[in-house]
């Protein structure tokens, strides 16, 4: 402590003793030192930025420049079995607006900014192009929001028109739009998607996971003005197109089934009609039609009840169509054969219930073939009494009752068949003739496909496969069936069912298909009451059958809900014929029935044409019109008349 004053005393004379040059050198050294220090600081900062924190700064910079653009995936198409498009996606135009453009505002520094345009004028311009109400559009444009949709998934041409107008605050966005080219064709099977492309109904919902694909991204760098930096990053992760789905439906057969179902509803004043067409060998569902239908392109206008695929979701008591299964079980168990003769009274009493035939006959005996042909309740119940509860229950379940078919369609009903242990004392007779048990039309068609397939069960399927990357079909594995009844039994039942259509007293004569042999069974069943136990006064008319009868290829099942009249032979059988004829021709099935030769057909056609001409001539002779459309006389000249 005592040294400090002495050192100051010593240094003072040294400073005083320095020359001017030395002072300058010393000052330069100080400045160099300071500059060196500053350079060191700058250099250290440089190292910090360029080396230590380089990645962080690079990331910050990139985040400011880079933009990630989502690339929506194109949803897979849905085809019918021949590759005809049932559902596809196209570009749609979504119109949106920033309502702030239509009201005055101010910038951050308080400078007033006038409205870019009047909302009413913009709405009036857009309304005719978008086919919307101008008042509705104006109300949207005047909302207190930064973003409003004016219209979504409109036609792309609409978007192009609006884009060309360059309206302030209005922009067009590309968005995938799902369309169904066939409109109502197979609508209940194909289903539909929502506004955001999610499958909501039918196959669109069931196979949404493989149809929707995977969205991609485009990463690029953009300048503050929004322009792309051409030499910057451009990383494309392409979207994956959804997998195309191939259904088993045949578009032509589906259309024929829908026309027939619709005509049944109109012609018989029915509540609804449903038709299922199956291919016997594969179980492929060629058609599944329900009427009333709907157009998935404009489903807002239709009743939601029409969205339902009734062939899958609705169950009903099959009525007499089930007698074929009861008799098949009895034949398989050796209780009867097709030629067995039985005494069939007018009525049969089981426990406290009495069952009668609708049209009793005077003949005391009937063969099993007669029982089937005339749809005898009493005869079938007598056979079922021999069969017993357990075996009847076993065979009905083997034919597919009481469990879903596994067709791959969402919401499939299982049907209703109580375990035989729970059957009450009088349950067996009604179940034997198709009451007290319920199934879907697809289950009924499947059971007849089993009979047509020589007793081997057929699992109905709606999905044929998917389209692979090479554009070829990747078929789904077919499910194996089980032998329900022997081929011998099945062929006996096929012959019995053929009698129903072609027999003199057959109840299904209206189901006969020209040129082919057909087999099937009518059914008429009262509907259970909805407000209590018992049955209502409404009926369900059904028909299920196959053709050609001797080598079945196609099964058609028809159900008409609450028709007038209500007999299956009058209502459902003609629909069967209409649909079966279209299906056989569409699937190019060779005729096996009453085919004629070409000369005979030509003779017939010639005779028919001559008769028509004579009738027309007679009509003209009776009431000749004064002049033709151009004022010329309508009497044929000598050169116009033929022989």
């Amino acid at each position: 402590m005592t040294e400090q004053p002495r050192r100051r005393f010593i240094r003072a004379p040294r400073i005083l003793s320095r020359s001017g040059e030395q002072v300058a050198v010393r000052r330069i050294r100080w400045l160099l030192g300071i500059y060196g220090l500053l350079i060191a600081i700058v250099f250290a900062q440089l190292i910090s930025i360029q080396v230590v924190d380089a990645d962080d700064y690079a990331d910050r910079s990139l985040r400011q420049r880079e933009r990630t653009i989502a690339l929506p995936a194109v949803r897979g198409r849905i085809y019918d079995r021949d590759g005809d498009v049932l559902a596809t996606s196209v570009d749609g135009a979504t119109i949106y607006a920033d309502p702030r453009a239509y009201r005055p505002g101010e910038t951050a520094d308080g400078t007033p900014v006038p409205a870019a345009a009047a909302a009413s004028e913009v709405a009036a311009t857009l309304a005719p192009i978008m086919d919307r109400d101008p008042a509705e559009l104006e109300a949207r444009l005047e909302q207190d929001a930064h973003f409003v949709y004016l219209g979504r998934q409109l036609d792309w041409s609409v978007g192009e028109q609006i884009d060309a107008l360059d309206l302030p605050g209005v922009a067009v966005l590309r968005e995938p739009k799902r369309i169904y080219p066939g409109s109502a064709l197979a609508a209940q099977v194909v289903g539909f998607t929502g506004i955001d492309g999610d499958g909501l109904q039918g196959m669109e919902a069931q196979y949404d996971g493989i149809l929707r694909g995977r969205p991609g991204t485009l990463l690029l760098e953009r300048a503050p003005g929004g322009l792309d930096i051409t030499s910057g990053i451009r990383e494309l992760t392409p979207s994956t197109v959804g997998t195309d789905l191939v259904l088993t439906l045949d578009r032509d057969v589906q259309h024929a089934a829908e026309v027939a179902a619709s005509s049944a509803v109109d012609g018989f004043d029915a509540n609804a009609a449903t038709v299922v067409v199956l291919e016997v060998a594969t179980g492929d569902v060629l058609a599944m039609a329900s009427s009333p239908g709907y157009d998935p392109n404009a489903r807002e206008q239709d009743d939601q009840d029409a969205w339902r695929n009734r062939a899958i979701t609705d169950v009903f008591e099959p009525g007499s169509t089930q007698k074929a299964l009861t008799i098949a079980a009895a034949i398989e168990e050796g209780i009867v054969t097709a030629d067995t003769t039985m005494e069939v009274p007018d009525q049969v009493r089981v426990a406290s219930s009495t069952f009668r035939d609708l049209y009793p006959t005077d003949e005391p005996t009937m063969t099993v073939g007669d029982i089937m042909e005339r749809s005898s309740n009493v005869g079938t119940i007598q056979i079922a009494q021999e069969l017993g509860d357990q075996r009847l229950d076993h065979y009905l379940r083997a034919f597919g009752y009481g469990s879903p078919t596994g067709s791959g369609f969402p919401g499939e009903a299982s049907g209703m068949l109580m375990p035989h242990e729970d059957w009450w004392s009088t349950a067996r007779p009604p179940i034997a003739i198709g009451h007290g048990a319920a199934d879907s039309l697809l289950q009924l068609a499947g059971s007849y496909a089993t009979l047509a397939n020589d007793g081997r069960s057929v699992a109905p399927r709606v999905i044929r496969g998917t389209i692979g990357d090479d554009g070829r079909l990747e078929p789904v594995a077919a499910r194996g069936g089980q032998q329900v009844v022997s081929p011998t039994t099945a062929r006996q039942v096929q012959q019995l069912l053929e009698r129903v259509v072609s027999g003199d007293r057959g109840t299904g004569s209206l189901a006969a298909v020209p040129g082919y042999t057909a087999a099937g069974k009518t059914g008429t069943a009262r509907k259970p009451a909805t407000d209590g136990p018992g049955y209502s006064d409404e009926y369900v008319a059904t028909f299920a059958g196959f053709a050609p009868a001797h080598d079945p290829e196609i099964v058609v099942a028809v159900m008409v809900d609450e028709p007038t009249p209500y007999y299956g032979g009058l209502v459902a059988a003609p629909i069967f014929r209409e649909v079966m004829e279209a299906a056989l021709i569409a699937r190019r099935v060779a005729p096996d029935g009453s085919a004629t030769t070409l000369p005979a057909a030509m003779d017939h056609a010639r005779a028919q044409a001559l008769a028509d001409a004579e009738a027309a001539q007679a009509s003209l002779d009776e009431d000749p019109p004064p002049h033709g459309p151009a004022g010329a006389p309508l009497t044929p000249t000598a050169t116009e008349t033929g022989d």
Binding site: D82, G83, T230, P514
Partner: protein, 149 residues
């Protein structure tokens, strides 16, 4: 201040060196003139070429990028047109639309079908079969659903 202290090292440095042997002398040519300006020009040209090349490559890259983007937009538009044409074809092929159009044209639904049994094959049968199995029968808009298609 007049006294000078000299270190031994300093003393050695000021000591006169011992005389060396005379080196061999030879005649040399006139030194080559240095082309400083040429070097500078070459350097400028090289730098200029490098800069020009870099700028040109960047410009070419930008032009190619713009062209790629244009092509990308054209591809997107073509894909959009293709998708819409596929939908339009499917819509035009719809059996319901064809039926409706036929009725509008005055056609009537066909009567009951009559099936003919041909006593011999028609001459055109083979031709039809070939057309169906050849390229003419292939619809480019449809996926290959089987080996026959």
């Amino acid at each position: 201040m007049t006294a000078t202290t000299v270190s031994p090292l300093r003393r050695e440095r000021v000591r006169p060196a011992a005389p060396k042997a005379r080196p061999d002398l030879r005649v040399v040519g006139e030194p080559r003139p240095r082309h400083t300006l040429a070097y500078a020009l070459v350097l400028v040209v090289l730098v200029g070429a490098a800069v020009f090349g870099a700028v040109s490559l960047n410009a070419l890259g930008a032009a190619a990028s713009v062209e790629a983007r244009t092509l990308d937009a054209e591809v997107r538009a073509a894909e959009r047109d293709y998708a819409m044409l596929v939908a339009e074809v499917a819509s035009l092929e719809d059996p319901g639309r064809i039926r409706s159009a036929a009725l509008d044209l005055g056609m009537v639904p066909a009567g009951p079908a009559r099936v003919l049994v041909l006593e011999r094959n028609l001459p055109a049968d083979g031709v039809v079969a070939e057309a169906l199995h050849g390229d003419l029968g292939t619809d480019p808009l449809k996926p290959l659903l089987s080996a026959e298609r």
